[in-house]
């Protein structure tokens, strides 16, 4: 009988005790908390001006690594969205603007300086992430497209840091530490959902195969 017991919980980490689950399945669950949970990060950057000392691609890379609090009930991944638009629609993209200029003294641009185009709950996990420093006269202006994605496609969407280990009593423990996109409990639930969906797909594929074989006879 599968049993899950909550051992420890705070805003960032959960520890659960798993019993009645094969090691391989428990490990799949751990991998899914990292790879298959949908989260939101900057996926596309439109550079309007960048006269900073940091090249466009380095700057874009730094921005893409900023975790955004993810409203995955409202937004979906562009490849799963039915809008079919290259730019995305209100269900698959959140637009942000970054505009900064240093005048008399050097400044640091922080994640808190990102401005959403419309009021949204999807915002940087922390306003204190330094993005770039500007010397007097330097300017950056860019448009950012925040999209839903999964860790298996790019590590910027990695939802959690998880480990599976055995306690001294031989109990199997799964520790999930959230990066900030989603609460840690939610990550576990989403990972289980993803696992269920994959198992369902496998079942259907197998059933289809057997069906095809029957028809062939």
């Amino acid at each position: 009988m599968v049993e899950v017991r909550l051992l420890e919980e705070d805003g960032r980490t959960v520890k659960v005790l798993l019993s009645g689950i094969p090691l391989a399945v428990a490990n799949t669950l751990r991998r899914y908390t990292i790879n298959e949970v949908p989260t939101m990060a900057v996926e596309e950057v439109l550079v309007i001006e960048n006269s900073s000392a940091m090249p466009n691609e380095v700057l874009a890379h730094r921005i893409s690594l900023i975790p955004f609090t993810s409203d995955i009930d409202r937004y979906r991944a562009p490849e799963e969205c039915d809008c079919g638009s290259r730019l995305g629609c209100e269900k698959c993209v959140v637009r942000y603007l970054l505009r900064a200029e240093a005048r008399d003294r050097p400044i640091t641009v922080y994640s808190g300086d990102l401005v959403p185009e419309e009021e949204t709950t999807v915002k940087p996990v922390s306003p204190k992430i330094p993005i770039v420093k500007l010397a007097p006269g330097q300017r950056v202006e860019m448009e950012l497209y925040v999209r839903v994605g999964r860790g298996r496609k790019n590590a910027k969407w990695q939802a959690a840091i998880s480990s599976l280990y055995e306690s001294e009593q031989g109990e199997r423990i799964l520790m999930v530490e959230s990066i900030g996109f989603l609460p840690p409990k939610r990550i576990l639930i989403e990972a289980a959902k993803a696992l269920e969906r994959k198992a369902g797909e496998l079942g259907e594929a197998l059933a289809g195969l057997l069906e095809a074989e029957k028809d062939g006879e």
Partner: protein, 74 residues
């Protein structure tokens, strides 16, 4: 370059703690203790802080002194 946003090894967000770390260490506090208090527990993340040197500050200093402010694109 500038301090990395995420830990190279585990992917945890670390950049949001950088300013406070720098300030406190510059004020004379023990780096290890500061990291403990900031909740940076794993050694992969800790080395990111301990081994970082902010080269970008020198680039900014150079541009502040010799940057062609009046020749900017605008």
């Amino acid at each position: 370059m500038m301090f990395p946003v995420r830990c190279f090894t585990c992917g945890a967000l670390i950049a949001d703690k950088w300013d406070e770390y720098r300030e406190r260490v510059d004020a004379g506090e023990e780096p290890g203790k500061v990291l403990d208090e900031l909740g940076v527990r794993r050694y992969c993340c800790r080395r990111m802080f301990l081994s970082h040197y902010e080269v970008f500050d020198e680039v900014i200093e150079f541009h502040s002194l010799f940057g062609s402010r009046e020749y900017s694109q605008r």
